[in-house]
């Protein structure tokens, strides 16, 4: 019986029933359902595959293997902790959306064929947009709409790709889609479309802006959920379908580098984190591009670790937003005085994302870096090192510094509620636990491996990189070179579709109007003249419209007949 349900189904079905629960029980469903779902997953064996024949096509709604399990485990853990973090929420929309969204992402990870994947892919889009809309501001409404268009667009492209791939003779099974040469150029158009669909959800450069646009507009808890699932589902899908695709190394490296410039000048600290998330995805994408077993392990391990420490950072900023009502760096500062626990937990997350030794980032990211170096990608390796220093700069220092220290904003708010602190504390413990005993995580990775993160060389060089980055921060602060936090927005690629494209459309419309005027006015006057002439001739007063009496008709008939008679006689 239990095997009939795909993993995640409990969350989707249960999530839809949440609004029926009495008020106080509702938020507990956000904890209980993921726990049940997790138990359900643990009850299924590794290697379990369920197939189903629909309209003559063989589908695989459930496939449990090493790669899907890592993502499945961490998705469930994050969902449970997200549920605890959101125990103060009574909002039906948020609770139902969060659960169905998490359920669909988990379903997607265990989808064994491309059709099932497509269904879950679209489900994550339509469920998660409600989390954006739950912000219930005009901005959230508009950002949500843009988000939905892009996410559903990704699904449509995926479907088109799947159909073309299948028609081309490809299989519906969701396995490795890229050829052995790892070149997109030699892949079919279907595979290319699937790649683009994955790329949109994975926030590839220039396809990335939905992430920074929509996520920070969601609620305190909504942003935490959003930050975890959509992008990591995309990372999983890329790791499954496109390991060893060379172009991903370049795409990933660009992803690690360019968002950090935006992160430095961004004022909204939750938006800073979305740029940071984008940069983190870059590391995973590089790992997929390299595609060796160790690199794929690195990507999976880094995704696992990232979900925990990035989730922790989003939670800490959510707690700040809940207590102060803002997440703008320019309005915050000095919060450590009244939120010391949140500050401490945030620092653990910040140090983990920066890959400080004895924390989870340190034992996972080097897997990707080492494989990059082994592949002799010198430039990429240097870019990743630069991005690693940059991560420390904007996530490791900027986030805790501007929220909890910097200039004192005078805000004396309460410490975060107990359930939030608990969820964050569990995440912090996981960051430390994985950092100290990495074998716990290594054991669940897709490929068996022997890896020693703690070598003298690695520990010392990592400390050097990070501490001198901190030194740079101190230097820039003391000399006043560090850009202050300002109330502002910074243009990013979304400018093209939020400003340039509408302006272009408006411009073309008015240009069109002028052009139409130039042609239409003379044409219309010509037509008018013709019509007037016709009216003169055929109108009520027109020559051709006069009515004739019966007598005159009879007279003319007689005249015609007489004429004919005369002609006949004369012949």
């Amino acid at each position: 019986m239990i095997e009939l349900l795909p993993p995640g189904a409990i969350l989707i079905l249960g999530g839809l029933l949440v609004p029926l629960l009495p008020g106080r029980l509702k938020p507990w469903a956000g904890v209980a359902l993921p726990v049940l779902g997790f138990i359900h997953l643990l009850a299924l064996d590794k290697g379990f595959v369920r197939t189903l024949v629909v309209f003559g096509y063989e589908l695989t709604p459930v496939r449990i293997d090493g790669l899907s399990l890592v993502f499945g485990y961490v998705f469930f853990i994050a969902a449970i902790l997200g549920g605890i973090y959101g125990l103060h929420v009574r909002d039906n929309v948020q609770l139902a959306a969060a659960l169905t969204y998490v359920g669909s992402a988990i379903g997607g990870v265990f989808a064994g064929d491309l059709i099932t994947l497509f269904i879950y892919w679209e489900l994550t889009a339509v469920t998660s947009v409600f989390l954006v809309w739950a912000g219930r501001t005009k901005r959230a409404a508009r950002a949500g709409m843009r988000y939905l268009v892009i996410q559903v667009g990704s699904g449509v492209i995926l479907l088109a790709g799947v159909i073309l791939h299948f028609v081309d003779g490809g299989s519906l099974e969701f396995g490795k889609l890229i050829g052995a040469d790892g070149r997109l150029g030699s892949a079919g158009i279907g595979v290319l479309l699937i790649f683009i669909a994955f790329g949109i959800k994975c926030a590839f450069p220039l396809l990335h802006n939905w992430l920074q646009d929509a996520y920070p507009e969601s609620t305190v808890t909504g942003t935490v959920y959003l930050s975890i699932f959509t992008t990591k589902l995309a990372v999983y899908a890329l790791a499954r379908g496109f390991p060893g695709t060379g172009i991903l190394i370049v795409i990933g490296a660009v992803m690690t580098a360019f968002p950090i410039f935006f992160a430095v000048i961004e004022n909204d600290l939750r938006r800073v984190l979305t740029y940071s998330l984008n940069n983190q995805l870059g590391f995973m994408v590089v790992g997929i591009g390299i595609g060796t077993q160790l690199a794929i392990n690195g990507t999976a391990a880094y995704a696992f670790a990232n979900i925990i420490f990035e989730g922790l950072l989003f939670m800490a900023m959510g707690a700040v937003l809940l207590r102060t009502g803002t997440c703008l760096g320019s309005e915050l500062g000095g919060l450590y005085k009244t939120m010391p626990r949140t500050a401490a937990l945030c620092i653990v997350g910040a140090a983990s994302i920066s890959a400080f030794p004895f924390l989870s980032g340190f034992v996972t990211k080097p897997l990707i870096l080492d494989e990059t170096a082994s592949g002799h990608h010198v430039v990429i390796y240097l870019m990743l090192l630069f991005a690693s220093a940059g991560v420390f700069h904007h996530s490791g220092i900027k986030i805790p510094y501007f929220a909890f220290f910097a200039h004192d904003s005078g805000k004396r708010v309460k410490e975060a509620p107990g359930h939030m602190l608990f969820a964050m504390a569990v995440m912090a413990v996981m960051c430390i636990g994985i950092g100290v005993y990495p074998e716990i995580l290594y054991r669940v990775l897709p490929y068996p491996m022997e890896y020693h993160a703690y070598t003298t060389t690695h520990v010392i060089t990592q400390y050097q990189l990070l501490l001198f980055s901190a030194l740079a921060f101190v230097f820039l602060q003391k000399t006043g070179l560090y850009p202050p936090e300002l109330r502002s927005v910074n243009l990013d690629f979304d400018w093209t579709y939020r400003k340039a494209l509408p302006a272009l459309v408006r411009g073309s419309v008015s240009l069109g109007r002028v052009a139409v005027g130039a042609i239409l006015v003379p044409t219309r006057s010509l037509v008018d003249r013709v019509l007037r002439l016709v009216y003169q001739l055929h109108g009520p007063e027109g020559v051709f419209a006069r009515t004739w009496t019966t007598g005159s008709i009879a007279f003319w008939a007689v005249v015609v007949l007489c004429g004919y008679l005369l002609y006949f006689l004369a012949r």
Binding site: I265, L467, A470, F473, L491
Partner: protein, 86 residues
Amino acid sequence: MSDHNDHERRYWLDDKRNVNKVCYALYTVCAGFALADLFPYKQHLHFDFEYWPGFSSIYGYVSCVALVLAATQLRKVLKRDEDYYD
């Protein structure tokens, strides 16, 4: 945590001298790690340049300064009012 004396209470970091102490501690630790490169501890690195003394330290420092200075220039081009899109 939320007692009424918060407004009057002075915290350790409120004193500028203590902030400076934190900075000096950082300088000392940095110096210590930089000096570690005087010893030939580096092993199993992938590229020759990684064996250069001070490579990681200098790379981290220069990266961050360059990042921030570049971002400051970028801001001049990209910064708009808060309600630019509204």
